[in-house]
């Protein structure tokens, strides 16, 4: 009975641990991947019982490999890839390190132990040691990631193929993703404001419409309406108003409104928390605790509040603690109180 539960584990854990290692990808692929992985996780949760039943009859070494249609072939490829994968391991290891507190990594030990008993698993764990062995075996352990190679495009495609072969649960995920992207485009195009949305699926680098070229850059609200096809300025466009923030800056500070509206847009934020270097989550990306613009994750913010409560960027006190200022400043008392209540919500 024990083998049933263990055998079911590696698939989602491989998906989870694989995930942080790919944060560096381009926005689109990262987003799609995240979407896939989440859908997969849900699928797994709902179909867990079915898979267990499938595993039950095969109690030999290949327990979880044989439970998938890919079967022996993927196993052979895993062996082949096992040696090639060495080069890419550093990345995986790094993220593994920083993420090791997250619950998604907890199934690693049963996972790797299962693989050690497995024929193919020994190939991975034999030559390396410690964290790297667990990361390599967990990342290549699941049946669906069997022939991941070091080349990213191949990787992407093959995973897609595998995905379809694997359990058939996500046959039309591409259609779903396309619909999602189209939906985002729809939502982005009627925007009246000139801000160039950095959302990965909105192609902002397309050519300009003629109306946009004619209008003066300083003419405010009419400019974006003139661009009839909904295209915004290019980053290197001479007519782009100087007041617009540059794109690279926007990548690190996404529009909070869109983070709320488009669930996956936050995945395009590449920057980590400068204090703890962890990847920011959805709440962190829209969290701006200080006027100076210094961003950090909620966890570090809370730890700093417990200590000297000063912003690391500008060394000013965060506007949460000083009750005496609140009492003395008449005009600003409302905003101060507001700031405090907001921060209390975000902290909890």
């Amino acid at each position: 009975m024990g083998s049933d539960s263990i055998a079911a584990v590696p698939i989602p854990s491989a998906a989870n641990t694989k995930n942080p290692g790919k944060k560096k990808r381009t926005n689109r692929s990262a987003k799609l991947k995240q979407y896939k992985i989440d859908a997969r996780r849900e699928q797994w949760l709902s179909q867990g019982a079915v898979k267990k039943k499938g595993c039950k009859d095969g109690l030999d070494d290949d327990v979880h490999v044989s439970s998938s249609p890919v079967g022996k072939q993927s196993k052979r490829e895993m062996e082949k890839v096992g040696t090639r994968r060495r080069g890419g391991e550093d990345d995986v290891l790094i993220h593994q390190d920083s993420d090791s507190e997250s619950p998604s990594n907890s199934p690693i030990s049963p996972n790797s132990s299962v693989l050690c008993g497995n024929d193919s698993g020994t190939n991975f764990t034999g030559s390396s040691s410690g964290a790297s062995s667990s990361s390599s075996s967990s990342s290549s352990g699941g049946c669906f990631s069997g022939n991941i190679t070091e080349e990213e495009e191949d990787d992407e495609e093959e995973v897609e193929q595998e995905e379809e072969v694997d359990d058939g649960c996500l046959d039309d995920w591409e259609a779903v993703a396309d619909a999602l992207a189209a939906d985002e485009k729809h939502r982005a195009s009627p925007q009246d404001e000139p801000v160039v949305e950095t959302d990965s699926s909105c192609e902002v680098t397309d050519g300009l419409s003629s109306g946009c070229l004619d209008s003066k850059p300083g003419s405010g609200g009419t400019v974006p309406r003139a661009s009839g096809n909904g295209k915004a300025w290019r980053a290197d466009d001479a007519f782009r108003p100087q007041t617009l923030p540059n794109l690279s800056k926007q990548h690190s500070m996404p529009n909070p409104r869109f983070v709320g509206g488009v669930p996956w847009s936050c995945m395009s934020v590449p920057s980590n928390c400068p204090i703890c270097c962890e990847d920011p989550d959805l709440t962190d990306t829209s969290f701006l605790p200080c006027n100076c613009g210094f961003r950090l994750c909620l966890f570090c913010h809370k730890r700093i509040l417990e200590q000297d409560a000063r912003c690391p960027g500008c060394r000013k006190q965060y506007e949460c603690e000083p009750i005496e200022t609140e009492a003395s400043v008449h005009g600003g008392s409302l905003t101060l109180r507001l700031a405090r209540s907001v921060s209390m919500i975000e902290r909890s």
């Binding site: 204090i275 962890e278 200590q307 960027g313 060394r315």
Partner: protein
């Protein structure tokens, strides 16, 4: 603990990548302990420390970067804000003015700046501070240069 390790690891990668970015600073991590670092800094030009190479020892606390690293000079230096015997450094950003946004690299830069601009009003080395406070810049400079030659320059022959 985990956060400090991750952060130091990132700084380590940063240092490896930008090895040539700042020729005055060479920051090395201990082979076995990521919480122990050593830095070699060049004395800034137009100071009595010009031409010397000074060794710094970093001891990074568990709660880094919320707490500042402990830094001291391993090379003898005659400077008002450096303890002559222990090498302890009196620098506000290593005490009260520390910010978690600082890195080990930026601490090195701050120490180089301190070497060029001593603060004689909060001295750890009273002899050095008194020379400067009494206006004897020449005396301070010759003493500092002498110790730079003695301790921070490669021995000839």
């Amino acid at each position: 603990m985990q956060a400090s390790r991750a952060r130091l690891f990132k700084e380590y990668k940063e240092v490896q990548r930008e090895k040539t970015a700042d020729p005055d600073i060479q920051l090395v991590c201990d082979d076995s302990n990521i919480f122990k670092w050593t830095a070699l800094i060049k004395g800034p030009s137009e100071t009595p420390f010009d031409g010397g190479v000074f060794q710094l020892a970093f001891s990074v606390p568990e709660h880094y970067p919320l707490q500042p690293p402990q830094v001291r000079f391993l090379t003898k230096i005659f400077h008002p804000n450096v303890h002559f015997k222990t090498g302890e450094i009196c620098l506000d950003i290593l005490k009260t003015a520390w910010s978690p946004a600082w890195t080990l690299q930026s601490v090195c830069r701050a120490i180089i700046a301190l070497m060029a601009h001593p603060e004689p009003d909060s001295p750890l080395n009273c002899d050095s501070g008194n020379l400067l406070r009494s206006g004897d810049v020449r005396g301070y400079q010759s003493m500092a240069r002498m110790y730079t030659r003695l301790a921070a320059m490669p021995k000839k022959g």
